[in-house]
Symmetry: C2
Subunit: 153 residues, 2 copies
DNA sequence: CTCAAAATGATATGATGTAACATTCTTGGG
DNA sequence: CCCAAGAATGTTACATCATATCATTTTGAG
């Protein structure tokens, strides 16, 4: 779990750098997401924090904290699943493209990838051709992970 | 509204062709979605059917009917918005690619487009490279429609 | 230290969605 | 035609996801 700690520290610096505060509760939520390494619902996080950290954080606060963490790009929301997941690139210092998510419809595993720019640009062009402007190319795709494909076969 | 009727008839034939039944309630829900022409939540549909058609359809039934209509490819679910929208291509007889949706984050307008196959294939390859299998390339993209971009500017 | 702003808590409620079982409707075989 | 079986719909209860509102606590700048 040293690794989680390291990432949280990094996140704290990232926040400090522009005057945002990674408070204790916010650290706890972020740690939970990092430890679990999977997408969790807000209420899953309430339970997890209670069980693992002995911290009772009301759901309302969890939602607020998740909003904060999303604004800081430390966490992403998955609309397909109504769940939240820690950003896979918190510790990278360079700017990132908007991520895309592969969600296993069977076991709920999630992989965060970055699709190459030219593909995204093609997508963007398709969107512009339809008279819309692409605000964010964060995509969520219905997938099966390798294991689940195997077992289904 | 003749047009809606025509589309519903077409949908009915489509269902009959493989032994599925487009019952009266199902027609009403589909008609509602077609008339409105926008994405609606299940509960929006409950209200709409009550107001416009004098039909009280319980939410549970609306969900079941929406499931049916999705299986028939007459309706799509938008996870970004938790809403449902009539397929833009019900009356086309040829098979369609999986659709992509452009959702205006400001006015909620939705455009259904079909991205060209080669772009989808590139996406699919990206997914396979990450060890996942793309089940369905139905994408939902956070956009702004042309009007909202103008007004924001 | 003090005060204002930020963060968190408490409570209620709205919105979305499903489980489980009952009832009604349709339809094909006798 | 009738009726059994399956399909569709209704009813009720509840699970899950999310936000509005106002109260309280914490924090940091002056």
């Amino acid at each position: 779990m040293k690794n989680v700690e390291r990432i949280v520290n990094h996140a704290e610096n990232h926040c400090k750098a522009h005057g945002a505060r990674l408070t204790n509760k916010r650290k706890i939520i972020l740690s939970g997401l990092l430890e679990v390494g999977k997408a969790m619902s807000a209420y899953d996080l309430v339970d997890y924090c209670k069980d693992q950290f002995g911290e009772s954080i009301p759901a309302m606060s969890v939602y607020r904290i998740l909003d904060f963490l999303q604004e800081e790009n430390l966490v992403h929301k998955l609309s397909l699943a109504n769940k939240y997941i820690a950003c896979a690139h918190i510790t990278c210092d360079h700017a990132h493209g908007v991520p895309q998510f592969l969600i296993c419809g069977n076991c709920q595993r999630v992989e965060e990838i970055t699709i190459n720019k030219s593909t995204i640009n093609t997508l963007r062009r398709n969107v512009e051709d339809a008279g819309f402007h692409l605000v964010s190319p964060q995509l969520e795709m219905n997938c099966l992970c390798h294991d689940c494909v195997e077992h289904a076969a």
